[in-house]
Amino acid sequence: MEKDQLKDLENESKELMELLKATRDIENSALDLPPVDAITTRRKKSYTMRRVSAWWVAAALFVGVFIGNLTNHTPKTDKTSNYATLYADTCRSLADGDVNLALLITHL
């Protein structure tokens, strides 16, 4: 039913169909297509960045936990000069899953 109605209407709209195709061709031909190299190289860059970032975060956490094991475990929030301890405590919290964002921001 709908198919027949649709077919009929499409047949009645030949002029409109021609206009649609002509408009499409004119509009498409005026478009500025990005260079293909921008596409094939984009992924590699972003992947490399993600991989480097992940390695740096992992390394920083490892160093922090390592330092933390060598120092006093009690957070010394009143002694801001002891950055190594504060950094280690924060990293240990992150590694333990006990993330205190306020503490992290304060330390950073």
Partner: protein, 168 residues
């Protein structure tokens, strides 16, 4: 089958402009957005080049991704609101070789298509601008063919009435 860089380049040159035009019309003639989206579309195709099946239609695969990108984009922004400012500048800029009447006809047509509801517009563009069949559109949109035909009928009537109203 994994697409080689050379095959990808050929497909991009063959279909890229078509996809960009589809994005432009779907996004209310926002040329810059269409350019970004076509780049994003082909980046996804490049990333998923292992999934390409030699016996399947590249056009259907490409428009499936493009259609979903448009749906996501529609969720994030009010395309209709920005339409008017783009359509007036874009269609006028493109129509440098046309007569005033032809320009006017095209502007009216673009406005009539853009005024279609969100669930009819992509179907209309895929059927009448990209010239895909109803079964192909069903595969792209995952909608039943009957639903597509009903929506296409309503959309076509609406566009035709708009054009008849202005005697264009």
């Amino acid at each position: 089958m994994r697409l080689t860089a050379e095959q990808f380049r050929t497909l991009y040159l063959e279909h890229g402009r078509r996809a960009q035009g589809f994005f432009m019309r779907m996004m209310g003639y926002d040329i810059q957005l269409a350019r970004d989206m076509v780049q994003d579309l082909f980046t996804r195709i490049w990333e998923h080049r292992d999934r390409f099946k030699a016996d399947a239609s590249f056009t259907t695969w490409m428009f499936s991704i493009a259609y979903n990108m448009c749906k996501n984009e529609y969720r994030h922004r009010e395309v209709v609101q920005t339409y008017q400012e783009h359509i007036m500048t874009t269609t006028t800029d493109i129509a440098t070789d046309d007569t005033l009447e032809q320009q006017q006809r095209r502007q009216m047509l673009a406005q009539a298509i853009n005024a279609l509801p969100e669930n009819q517009k992509p179907l209309f563009l895929l059927r009448y601008e990209e010239e895909l069949t109803v079964p192909e559109i069903a595969r792209i949109t995952m909608l039943p063919e009957g639903t597509i035909k009903t929506r296409l009928l309503t959309a076509l009537k609406s566009v035709k009435e708009s054009m008849d109203k202005y005697n264009l």
